[in-house]
Symmetry: C2
DNA sequence: ATAACTTAATTAAGTTTCTGATACAGTTCG
DNA sequence: CGAACTGTATCAGAAACTTAATTAAGTTAT
Protein backbone atom coordinates (compact mmCIF):
# COMPACT_ATOMS: atom_id res chain seq x y z
CA UNK A 1 0.00 0.00 0.00
CA UNK A 2 2.28 2.75 -1.18
CA UNK A 3 1.00 6.16 -0.22
CA UNK A 4 0.89 8.60 -3.03
CA UNK A 5 4.32 10.06 -3.25
CA UNK A 6 4.56 13.79 -3.09
CA UNK A 7 6.34 15.39 -5.94
CA UNK A 8 9.86 16.31 -4.95
CA UNK A 9 10.68 19.48 -6.80
CA UNK A 10 14.28 19.16 -5.74
CA UNK A 11 14.43 15.71 -7.27
CA UNK A 12 12.76 16.87 -10.43
CA UNK A 13 15.15 19.77 -10.70
CA UNK A 14 18.15 17.52 -10.38
CA UNK A 15 16.91 15.08 -12.95
CA UNK A 16 16.16 17.83 -15.41
CA UNK A 17 19.56 19.37 -14.85
CA UNK A 18 21.14 16.05 -15.61
CA UNK A 19 19.14 15.55 -18.77
CA UNK A 20 20.00 19.02 -19.88
CA UNK A 21 23.64 18.26 -19.51
CA UNK A 22 23.23 15.00 -21.38
CA UNK A 23 21.53 16.67 -24.28
CA UNK A 24 23.86 19.54 -24.53
CA UNK A 25 26.95 17.46 -24.51
CA UNK A 26 26.03 15.69 -27.68
CA UNK A 27 28.91 15.29 -30.09
CA UNK A 28 27.94 17.56 -32.95
CA UNK A 29 29.28 16.48 -36.27
CA UNK A 30 29.21 19.71 -38.13
CA UNK A 31 30.56 22.11 -35.63
CA UNK A 32 28.16 24.92 -35.12
CA UNK A 33 28.04 27.25 -32.24
CA UNK A 34 25.57 26.77 -29.52
CA UNK A 35 23.49 29.76 -30.33
CA UNK A 36 23.47 28.77 -33.95
CA UNK A 37 22.01 25.38 -33.18
CA UNK A 38 19.40 26.94 -31.01
CA UNK A 39 18.36 29.33 -33.75
CA UNK A 40 18.04 26.51 -36.24
CA UNK A 41 15.91 24.61 -33.75
CA UNK A 42 13.65 27.54 -33.21
CA UNK A 43 13.24 28.20 -36.89
CA UNK A 44 12.63 24.55 -37.69
CA UNK A 45 10.00 24.37 -35.01
CA UNK A 46 8.21 27.68 -35.22
CA UNK A 47 8.67 28.53 -38.87
CA UNK A 48 10.07 31.77 -40.27
CA UNK A 49 10.81 34.50 -37.79
CA UNK A 50 12.10 38.01 -37.73
CA UNK A 51 15.55 38.79 -36.53
CA UNK A 52 14.10 40.66 -33.60
CA UNK A 53 12.04 37.70 -32.53
CA UNK A 54 15.06 35.46 -32.69
CA UNK A 55 17.09 37.89 -30.68
CA UNK A 56 14.42 37.78 -28.01
CA UNK A 57 14.11 34.04 -27.79
CA UNK A 58 17.84 33.37 -27.96
CA UNK A 59 18.82 36.02 -25.48
CA UNK A 60 21.51 37.62 -27.53
CA UNK A 61 21.55 41.07 -29.02
CA UNK A 62 19.88 41.67 -32.29
CA UNK A 63 23.20 42.53 -33.76
CA UNK A 64 24.52 39.10 -32.91
CA UNK A 65 21.58 37.53 -34.70
CA UNK A 66 22.20 39.59 -37.80
CA UNK A 67 25.77 38.40 -37.91
CA UNK A 68 24.86 34.81 -37.28
CA UNK A 69 22.12 34.77 -39.89
CA UNK A 70 24.53 36.23 -42.39
CA UNK A 71 26.90 33.40 -41.70
CA UNK A 72 24.16 30.76 -41.81
CA UNK A 73 22.96 32.21 -45.09
CA UNK A 74 26.42 31.89 -46.60
CA UNK A 75 26.43 28.25 -45.53
CA UNK A 76 23.01 27.65 -47.06
CA UNK A 77 21.26 26.75 -43.82
CA UNK A 78 18.79 29.63 -43.77
CA UNK A 79 17.33 32.15 -46.20
CA UNK A 80 16.36 35.77 -45.78
CA UNK A 81 13.00 36.87 -47.16
CA UNK A 82 11.28 40.25 -47.06
CA UNK A 83 8.33 40.46 -44.73
CA UNK A 84 5.29 41.34 -46.86
CA UNK A 85 3.58 42.97 -43.91
CA UNK A 86 6.49 45.19 -42.89
CA UNK A 87 9.05 46.66 -45.19
CA UNK A 88 11.67 46.99 -42.50
CA UNK A 89 11.57 43.41 -41.36
CA UNK A 90 13.29 40.32 -42.65
CA UNK A 91 11.92 36.84 -42.28
CA UNK A 92 14.46 34.13 -41.70
CA UNK A 93 13.58 30.64 -42.82
CA UNK A 94 15.49 27.37 -42.53
CA UNK A 95 16.44 25.62 -45.70
CA UNK A 96 16.16 21.87 -46.16
CA UNK A 97 19.83 21.60 -45.30
CA UNK A 98 19.29 23.53 -42.11
CA UNK A 99 16.32 21.43 -41.11
CA UNK A 100 18.34 18.30 -41.76
CA UNK A 101 20.84 19.37 -39.15
CA UNK A 102 18.12 19.90 -36.59
CA UNK A 103 16.53 16.57 -37.39
CA UNK A 104 19.85 14.85 -37.25
CA UNK A 105 20.56 16.10 -33.80
CA UNK A 106 17.13 15.18 -32.57
CA UNK A 107 17.57 11.73 -34.01
CA UNK A 108 20.80 11.35 -32.08
CA UNK A 109 19.08 12.34 -28.88
CA UNK A 110 16.24 9.95 -29.52
CA UNK A 111 18.68 7.17 -30.23
CA UNK A 112 20.42 7.80 -26.98
CA UNK A 113 17.17 7.92 -25.04
CA UNK A 114 15.93 4.78 -26.73
CA UNK A 115 19.05 2.98 -25.69
CA UNK A 116 18.59 4.03 -22.10
CA UNK A 117 14.87 3.35 -22.05
CA UNK A 118 15.51 -0.16 -23.30
CA UNK A 119 17.44 -0.89 -20.20
CA UNK A 120 14.64 0.17 -17.88
CA UNK A 121 12.04 -2.21 -16.59
CA UNK A 122 8.64 -2.32 -18.18
CA UNK A 123 7.18 -0.70 -15.09
CA UNK A 124 9.67 2.14 -15.24
CA UNK A 125 8.89 2.84 -18.87
CA UNK A 126 5.21 2.86 -18.07
CA UNK A 127 5.74 5.28 -15.24
CA UNK A 128 7.53 7.69 -17.54
CA UNK A 129 4.91 7.29 -20.22
CA UNK A 130 2.24 8.08 -17.67
CA UNK A 131 4.02 11.22 -16.57
CA UNK A 132 4.73 12.53 -20.04
CA UNK A 133 1.47 14.45 -20.52
CA UNK A 134 1.91 16.15 -17.18
CA UNK A 135 5.48 17.11 -18.01
CA UNK A 136 4.37 18.45 -21.36
CA UNK A 137 1.76 20.52 -19.62
CA UNK A 138 4.37 22.05 -17.36
CA UNK A 139 6.30 23.15 -20.39
CA UNK A 140 3.16 24.54 -21.91
CA UNK A 141 2.29 26.46 -18.78
CA UNK A 142 5.75 27.88 -18.83
CA UNK A 143 5.75 29.08 -22.40
CA UNK A 144 2.36 30.67 -22.14
CA UNK A 145 3.48 32.46 -19.01
CA UNK A 146 6.58 33.71 -20.70
CA UNK A 147 4.60 34.57 -23.75
CA UNK A 148 6.83 32.18 -25.56
CA UNK A 149 6.88 31.53 -29.25
CA UNK A 150 4.09 29.03 -29.53
CA UNK A 151 1.56 29.88 -26.91
CA UNK A 152 -1.10 27.63 -28.28
CA UNK A 153 0.67 24.42 -28.96
CA UNK A 154 -2.36 22.81 -30.48
CA UNK A 155 -1.79 20.02 -32.91
CA UNK A 156 1.11 19.60 -35.16
CA UNK A 157 4.65 20.69 -35.12
CA UNK A 158 6.10 23.03 -32.69
CA UNK A 159 8.95 24.52 -30.91
CA UNK A 160 11.94 22.38 -30.25
CA UNK A 161 15.19 23.71 -29.13
CA UNK A 162 17.85 22.24 -27.08
CA UNK A 163 21.42 23.10 -27.59
CA UNK A 164 20.73 26.50 -26.27
CA UNK A 165 23.66 28.53 -25.17
CA UNK A 166 24.21 31.80 -23.63
CA UNK A 167 23.96 33.45 -20.40
CA UNK A 168 25.92 36.22 -21.75
CA UNK A 169 29.24 37.20 -20.48
CA UNK A 170 30.97 40.15 -18.98
CA UNK A 171 30.64 41.22 -15.43
CA UNK B 1 -9.65 0.71 -18.67
CA UNK B 2 -6.73 2.51 -20.15
CA UNK B 3 -4.19 0.18 -21.63
CA UNK B 4 -0.68 0.75 -20.50
CA UNK B 5 0.66 3.51 -22.64
CA UNK B 6 3.84 2.78 -24.48
CA UNK B 7 6.61 5.19 -23.86
CA UNK B 8 6.92 7.64 -26.71
CA UNK B 9 10.58 8.42 -27.06
CA UNK B 10 9.76 11.19 -29.48
CA UNK B 11 7.48 12.75 -26.92
CA UNK B 12 10.02 12.38 -24.18
CA UNK B 13 12.70 13.92 -26.37
CA UNK B 14 10.55 16.94 -27.12
CA UNK B 15 9.67 17.50 -23.51
CA UNK B 16 13.27 17.25 -22.43
CA UNK B 17 14.31 19.63 -25.17
CA UNK B 18 11.78 22.12 -23.92
CA UNK B 19 12.88 21.81 -20.33
CA UNK B 20 16.44 22.25 -21.39
CA UNK B 21 15.55 25.46 -23.09
CA UNK B 22 13.62 26.62 -20.05
CA UNK B 23 16.51 25.98 -17.74
CA UNK B 24 19.14 27.48 -19.91
CA UNK B 25 17.28 30.67 -20.52
CA UNK B 26 17.27 31.60 -16.89
CA UNK B 27 18.06 35.24 -16.26
CA UNK B 28 21.43 35.13 -14.53
CA UNK B 29 22.08 37.92 -12.12
CA UNK B 30 25.81 37.93 -12.02
CA UNK B 31 26.71 37.55 -15.63
CA UNK B 32 28.90 34.57 -16.10
CA UNK B 33 29.56 32.72 -19.27
CA UNK B 34 27.81 29.53 -19.95
CA UNK B 35 30.82 27.36 -19.64
CA UNK B 36 31.71 29.08 -16.42
CA UNK B 37 28.39 28.26 -14.85
CA UNK B 38 28.72 24.70 -15.94
CA UNK B 39 32.13 24.38 -14.36
CA UNK B 40 30.86 25.79 -11.08
CA UNK B 41 28.01 23.30 -11.17
CA UNK B 42 30.33 20.43 -11.74
CA UNK B 43 32.67 21.47 -8.98
CA UNK B 44 29.87 22.09 -6.54
CA UNK B 45 28.44 18.67 -7.26
CA UNK B 46 31.46 16.46 -7.66
CA UNK B 47 33.95 18.21 -5.43
CA UNK B 48 37.46 19.30 -6.40
CA UNK B 49 38.65 18.29 -9.83
CA UNK B 50 41.70 18.60 -11.96
CA UNK B 51 41.78 20.95 -14.87
CA UNK B 52 42.02 18.06 -17.27
CA UNK B 53 38.95 16.44 -15.82
CA UNK B 54 37.03 19.64 -16.17
CA UNK B 55 38.17 20.06 -19.73
CA UNK B 56 36.85 16.60 -20.47
CA UNK B 57 33.48 17.02 -18.85
CA UNK B 58 32.88 20.51 -20.19
CA UNK B 59 34.03 19.71 -23.67
CA UNK B 60 36.32 22.61 -24.11
CA UNK B 61 40.05 22.56 -24.49
CA UNK B 62 42.28 22.37 -21.46
CA UNK B 63 43.59 25.75 -22.41
CA UNK B 64 40.15 27.27 -22.11
CA UNK B 65 39.71 25.76 -18.66
CA UNK B 66 43.01 27.12 -17.47
CA UNK B 67 42.04 30.59 -18.56
CA UNK B 68 38.59 30.35 -17.07
CA UNK B 69 39.83 29.03 -13.74
CA UNK B 70 42.32 31.86 -13.59
CA UNK B 71 39.51 34.30 -14.05
CA UNK B 72 37.25 32.55 -11.53
CA UNK B 73 40.09 32.53 -9.05
CA UNK B 74 40.55 36.28 -9.41
CA UNK B 75 36.84 36.67 -8.70
CA UNK B 76 37.03 34.46 -5.64
CA UNK B 77 34.70 31.78 -6.91
CA UNK B 78 37.20 28.93 -6.98
CA UNK B 79 40.57 28.10 -5.47
CA UNK B 80 43.55 26.25 -6.86
CA UNK B 81 45.18 23.66 -4.63
CA UNK B 82 48.13 21.40 -5.31
CA UNK B 83 47.25 17.76 -5.78
CA UNK B 84 49.07 15.84 -3.02
CA UNK B 85 49.18 12.75 -5.17
CA UNK B 86 50.60 14.40 -8.26
CA UNK B 87 52.91 17.37 -8.32
CA UNK B 88 51.87 18.44 -11.80
CA UNK B 89 48.18 18.53 -11.14
CA UNK B 90 46.02 21.26 -9.71
CA UNK B 91 42.82 20.65 -7.85
CA UNK B 92 40.15 23.24 -8.39
CA UNK B 93 37.65 23.72 -5.63
CA UNK B 94 34.64 26.02 -5.39
CA UNK B 95 34.62 28.59 -2.66
CA UNK B 96 31.57 29.38 -0.60
CA UNK B 97 30.91 32.30 -2.91
CA UNK B 98 31.06 30.04 -5.93
CA UNK B 99 28.75 27.49 -4.36
CA UNK B 100 26.33 30.26 -3.50
CA UNK B 101 25.99 31.10 -7.16
CA UNK B 102 25.25 27.52 -8.05
CA UNK B 103 22.73 27.21 -5.25
CA UNK B 104 21.13 30.46 -6.24
CA UNK B 105 20.57 29.32 -9.75
CA UNK B 106 19.19 26.01 -8.63
CA UNK B 107 16.85 27.80 -6.28
CA UNK B 108 15.59 29.89 -9.15
CA UNK B 109 14.93 26.80 -11.20
CA UNK B 110 13.16 25.13 -8.32
CA UNK B 111 11.05 28.19 -7.76
CA UNK B 112 10.03 28.19 -11.38
CA UNK B 113 9.21 24.49 -11.32
CA UNK B 114 7.29 24.85 -8.10
CA UNK B 115 5.19 27.54 -9.65
CA UNK B 116 4.40 25.37 -12.61
CA UNK B 117 3.79 22.25 -10.55
CA UNK B 118 1.32 24.14 -8.40
CA UNK B 119 -0.82 24.68 -11.42
CA UNK B 120 -1.01 21.00 -12.26
CA UNK B 121 -3.69 18.71 -10.97
CA UNK B 122 -2.99 16.44 -8.05
CA UNK B 123 -3.03 13.47 -10.41
CA UNK B 124 -0.50 15.07 -12.69
CA UNK B 125 1.86 15.79 -9.85
CA UNK B 126 1.53 12.21 -8.69
CA UNK B 127 2.28 10.92 -12.14
CA UNK B 128 5.48 12.92 -12.28
CA UNK B 129 6.45 11.85 -8.78
CA UNK B 130 5.94 8.25 -9.77
CA UNK B 131 8.14 8.63 -12.82
CA UNK B 132 10.96 10.42 -11.07
CA UNK B 133 12.91 7.34 -9.95
CA UNK B 134 12.78 5.92 -13.45
CA UNK B 135 13.99 9.18 -14.95
CA UNK B 136 16.79 9.32 -12.43
CA UNK B 137 17.77 5.82 -13.39
CA UNK B 138 18.00 6.79 -17.04
CA UNK B 139 20.42 9.51 -16.12
CA UNK B 140 22.39 7.08 -14.04
CA UNK B 141 22.55 4.55 -16.83
CA UNK B 142 23.81 7.28 -19.06
CA UNK B 143 26.58 8.50 -16.84
CA UNK B 144 27.85 5.05 -16.09
CA UNK B 145 27.89 4.31 -19.79
CA UNK B 146 29.81 7.47 -20.49
CA UNK B 147 32.02 6.84 -17.55
CA UNK B 148 30.75 10.10 -16.23
CA UNK B 149 31.90 11.83 -13.09
CA UNK B 150 29.83 10.11 -10.48
CA UNK B 151 29.24 6.61 -11.64
CA UNK B 152 27.90 5.40 -8.36
CA UNK B 153 25.48 8.04 -7.31
CA UNK B 154 24.85 6.44 -3.98
CA UNK B 155 23.47 8.62 -1.28
CA UNK B 156 24.00 12.25 -0.83
CA UNK B 157 25.01 15.05 -3.00
CA UNK B 158 26.10 14.72 -6.51
CA UNK B 159 26.58 16.12 -9.90
CA UNK B 160 24.29 18.86 -10.96
CA UNK B 161 24.93 20.90 -13.96
CA UNK B 162 22.65 22.68 -16.17
CA UNK B 163 23.64 25.85 -17.82
CA UNK B 164 25.96 23.86 -19.91
CA UNK B 165 27.28 25.49 -22.97
CA UNK B 166 29.41 24.56 -25.76
CA UNK B 167 29.25 22.63 -28.84
CA UNK B 168 32.33 24.31 -29.88
CA UNK B 169 32.53 26.50 -32.81
CA UNK B 170 34.43 26.77 -36.01
CA UNK B 171 33.61 24.93 -39.12
C1' DA C 1 1.31 65.51 -45.39
C1' DT C 2 5.36 66.64 -42.83
C1' DA C 3 8.22 66.68 -38.79
C1' DA C 4 9.37 63.97 -34.77
C1' DC C 5 9.47 59.47 -32.85
C1' DT C 6 9.79 54.56 -32.94
C1' DT C 7 11.13 50.07 -34.76
C1' DA C 8 14.09 46.68 -37.82
C1' DA C 9 18.18 45.61 -39.55
C1' DT C 10 22.96 46.47 -40.69
C1' DT C 11 27.70 47.96 -39.96
C1' DA C 12 31.90 48.94 -37.40
C1' DA C 13 34.88 48.64 -33.53
C1' DG C 14 36.16 46.59 -29.30
C1' DT C 15 35.84 42.69 -25.81
C1' DT C 16 35.59 38.03 -24.08
C1' DT C 17 36.13 33.36 -24.69
C1' DC C 18 37.70 29.83 -27.29
C1' DT C 19 41.28 26.83 -30.20
C1' DG C 20 45.90 25.48 -31.59
C1' DA C 21 50.53 25.29 -30.92
C1' DT C 22 54.25 25.31 -27.86
C1' DA C 23 56.83 25.27 -23.63
C1' DC C 24 57.79 23.15 -19.21
C1' DA C 25 57.71 20.84 -14.93
C1' DG C 26 56.57 16.45 -12.66
C1' DT C 27 55.73 11.06 -13.46
C1' DT C 28 56.49 6.61 -15.12
C1' DC C 29 58.99 3.03 -16.97
C1' DG C 30 62.65 0.77 -19.40
C1' DC D 1 69.10 7.91 -15.25
C1' DG D 2 66.95 9.17 -19.66
C1' DA D 3 62.94 8.66 -22.84
C1' DA D 4 58.28 9.00 -23.32
C1' DC D 5 54.09 10.75 -21.00
C1' DT D 6 50.95 13.78 -18.58
C1' DG D 7 49.03 18.03 -16.52
C1' DT D 8 49.30 23.09 -16.71
C1' DA D 9 50.40 27.35 -18.41
C1' DT D 10 51.09 30.85 -21.99
C1' DC D 11 50.53 33.22 -26.38
C1' DA D 12 48.79 34.34 -30.87
C1' DG D 13 44.87 34.34 -33.66
C1' DA D 14 39.96 33.06 -34.60
C1' DA D 15 34.93 33.21 -33.21
C1' DA D 16 31.13 34.97 -31.30
C1' DC D 17 29.34 38.75 -28.64
C1' DT D 18 28.39 43.54 -27.17
C1' DT D 19 27.84 48.49 -27.66
C1' DA D 20 27.24 52.39 -30.46
C1' DA D 21 26.26 54.60 -34.68
C1' DT D 22 23.71 54.46 -39.28
C1' DT D 23 20.11 53.71 -42.59
C1' DA D 24 15.56 52.88 -43.72
C1' DA D 25 10.61 52.00 -43.03
C1' DG D 26 6.56 52.59 -40.19
C1' DT D 27 3.74 55.66 -36.76
C1' DT D 28 1.87 59.68 -34.61
C1' DA D 29 0.47 64.07 -33.95
C1' DT D 30 -0.47 68.31 -35.61
Amino acid sequence: MPEFAELSIAGLTRVLEDFTRMHIRLPAERRLSFTTLSVLHTLAGDGPKRLTELAGSEQVTQSAITQMVTKLEREGLVERHPDPSDGRAVLVRVTAAGAAIVDGRRAERMARLTELADRLTEAEREAIAAALPALARMVELHSSAIGGPSIERGAGEDDSGTDTPRDSTRR
